[in-house]
């Protein structure tokens, strides 16, 4: 598949944006600049960026607790994302959601969910709306290998298939549900093998390769828009960092060997995409470095924006509870 130069560079830019955003989050979190937890997406950037590169702004996504990568991959703003982590009024959710609940309804980001598997039926619903109204938008649900065991996933895939809905299920298989391994919890060799049970295509993709993720997703999106129904794509990937910030200080015992981590780090999705871009003559090393540097700068600005944004007032506590407000009790 020939991929447009602009799209390749957009993918690179978004992957660097996620990487540098997450590095900054780790830095300011360890400095105690914000209160809650966060789940770094470092190592998995190619999955969300490759998948979202196949979408339009009018398409929808829903995600999970590892929640910064999906919105940035869909074109979300890092300043509003960072301000949300800082709990400030200029955050995406005015400080009400925090790290695990980023959303941007202006570009189809229906929201990240801290309950795993729980946003997948919601994504099915967006696809159902497309089907009822006869519109061409599609919906894409991100979930992990851990959530692949949730009943919600099975109900969602079956519903999507019997109703022939335009949805793409993207499993980010990073091989561990917190500390519990894939092999101990999933009965099939690949999550994508489960697609046959729902009569839909199941595609196993190298999740470190953004181009492979893009190509698989673009093909699934094409099927969905043509009315040919849902697909399940499994991106095999790895989280380079801990499950969540600070977990390493509290957990007892190791669950991954250093050798395993080192081997996966050798397959850094940014190295792989830059190698492809440079070797195909799409851009030079210097141009790639400049893209990286620009995202570092944007993340710095976003962090300053977050730091300077005010906290909500106590009087804001009840705002946004209801669309048609009531006094209760």
């Amino acid at each position: 598949m020939d991929i447009d130069r602009d799209l390749l560079l957009l993918m690179l830019r978004r992957m660097w944006m996620i990487r540098n955003f997450e590095l900054k989050v780790m830095e300011v979190h360890s400095a105690g600049e914000f209160a809650g937890g966060a789940h770094p997406y470092i190592g998995e950037e190619a999955v969300a960026v490759g998948a979202c590169a196949a979408l339009e702004d009018t398409d929808y996504i829903a995600g999970n607790h590892r929640s910064h990568g999906h919105p940035i991959a869909k074109g979300g703003r890092v300043d509003k994302a960072m301000a949300e982590l800082y709990g400030r009024v200029d955050g995406y959710c005015k400080g009400k959601g925090g790290s695990m609940h980023l959303a941007d309804y202006s570009i189809g980001i229906l929201g990240e969910s801290g309950i795993l598997g729980s946003s997948v039926p919601v994504a099915v619903g967006a696809a159902l709306a497309a089907s009822i109204k006869g519109e061409k938008f599609v919906s894409l649900a991100f979930f992990g290998d851990g959530a692949s065991n949730q009943g919600a996933l099975h109900e969602s895939m079956n519903l999507a298939s019997v109703w022939n809905l335009p949805i793409i299920f993207i499993c980010e298989n990073n091989q561990y549900a917190v500390t519990t391994s894939y092999a101990d919890t999933v009965a099939v060799e690949h999550v994508s093998d489960r697609a046959s049970a729902y009569n839909m295509p199941g595609i196993l993709v190298d999740g470190q390769d953004a181009i492979a993720m893009y190509e698989a997703t673009a093909s699934a999106v094409g099927r969905a828009r043509a009315g040919d129904g849902p697909s399940l794509i499994e991106g095999l990937t790895y989280r380079f960092e801990e499950h969540s910030l600070g977990l390493g200080r509290v957990r007892r015992g190791e669950y991954r060997t250093q050798e395993e981590i080192d081997n996966w780090r050798k397959r850094d999705p940014l190295d792989i995409l830059e190698h492809n871009i440079i070797s195909q003559g799409v851009a030079t090393r210097e141009e790639c470095d400049a893209i990286n540097a620009k995202t570092v700068e944007e993340v710095e600005k976003a962090t300053e924006f977050a730091r300077n944004s005010p906290f909500p007032e106590p009087s804001d506590l009840f705002d946004d509870m209801w669309a048609d407000p009531i006094a209760f009790p």
Partner: protein, 328 residues
């Protein structure tokens, strides 16, 4: 005015709302063939795209309704209270919380119609009266109609409301006949019952009974019977529990000085508990006797007709409660 059966009132509301707004659609188990009667004739008029029979996947289709509502649809989901447990994660983690959690970005005009089939030998797995649990969770409007006209008017309001609503349809009322005004006799040519406005069912001076859902009929019967003994009982139907019209109830207790609440839910942390606590906090100095809660016993619903009726509030229990308030 026309006499309409409760279940037909539901059907009228759905048909009128689906005709009015093409974004309204309905989904649930066995609704095309209308096992419960409320969805009769929908398939022939609105077609398969807007009348969806679902698999037995409450978590899946409760969530799909949420997702569809987020992108401009107005879904109505038909289910039973007892099946709601299966889809609880979607109702709580998503429907109730999304709007607030996302800083007001999400709007979820989704309606769950939950039938409560209790009192008919359905045993513990099909007889839940679960509305108090949803009063405890911010973010869901809780609707408890007690007669055909309110059923119709409140359901139409729920479809138009922009927040998640659960309409609890009391199965003991399914065959109840009541007057439902013809549309042409109404202002705006339709029946709309707004949320948060209690209805005065009987006026009285000696004691107030607040009835919830099927409890309203019991309260009205008690009021009629005690009138023959010279006891004047006021009966109030809150009609919605979230939002809740506490003013009408506090005004009534100010007048009567006595309060009995009859609520088919389990007694602990029931709607009756919350109403009692509101009146205790805000109407204490009006009270001339302790508040009496007549709710279901704290036990599961037994199958046998030898035991089941003992669980629920009935005319006898409510009458005794009214008399206790008058002894003080």
């Amino acid at each position: 005015m026309a006499q309409t059966v409760f279940i037909e009132a539901i059907n009228q509301a759905i048909i009128e709302e689906m005709r009015r707004d093409e974004n309204v659609f309905i989904m649930g188990e066995d609704i095309r063939r209308s096992v419960y009667g409320a969805t009769a004739n929908l398939l022939s008029e609105f077609g398969e795209k807007r009348v969806l029979d679902t698999p037995l996947s409450e978590n899946g289709f409760f969530g799909a309704a949420i997702g569809a509502s987020l992108v401009g649809m107005r879904p109505i989901v038909e289910t039973l209270t007892s099946f709601m447990w299966v889809g609880m994660d979607q109702l709580i983690s998503q429907a109730a919380k999304m709007r607030y959690m996302f800083g007001g970005q999400a709007t979820l005009p989704v309606v769950y119609r939950a039938s409560m089939f209790y009192g008919g030998g359905s045993a513990a797995h099909h007889s839940d009266r679960s509305y108090p649990m949803f009063m405890n969770m911010p973010g869901i409007k809780v609707i408890v109609p007690s007669n055909p006209a309110d059923m119709k008017g409140l359901l139409k309001s729920a479809v138009r409301d922009n927040d998640p609503c659960i309409v609890f349809e009391d199965g003991t009322l399914a065959g109840m006949r009541g007057e439902v005004p013809e549309n042409e006799d109404l202002p705006g040519d339709e029946l709309i019952v707004p949320f948060g406005q209690a209805e005065m069912v009987r006026e009285g001076t000696d004691c107030t009974i607040v009835g919830v859902a099927g409890g309203v009929n019991i309260a009205a019967s008690v009021s009629d019977q005690l009138a023959q003994e010279g006891i004047s009982v006021e009966v109030i139907d809150p009609r919605t529990l979230v939002p809740f019209d506490k003013k009408t109830i506090l005004n009534s207790v100010e007048k009567t000085g006595r309060l009995v609440i009859t609520d088919p839910a389990h007694k602990v942390c029931s709607a009756a508990s919350e109403i009692a606590s509101i009146v205790a906090e805000e109407g204490f100095w009006s009270l001339q006797a302790p508040i009496q809660k007549v709710a279901s016993e704290q036990v599961h619903i037994p199958y046998t007709p030898a035991l089941e009726p003992h669980v629920y509030p009935d005319v006898e229990k409510v009458t005794a409660a009214v008399k206790r308030t008058l002894e003080s």
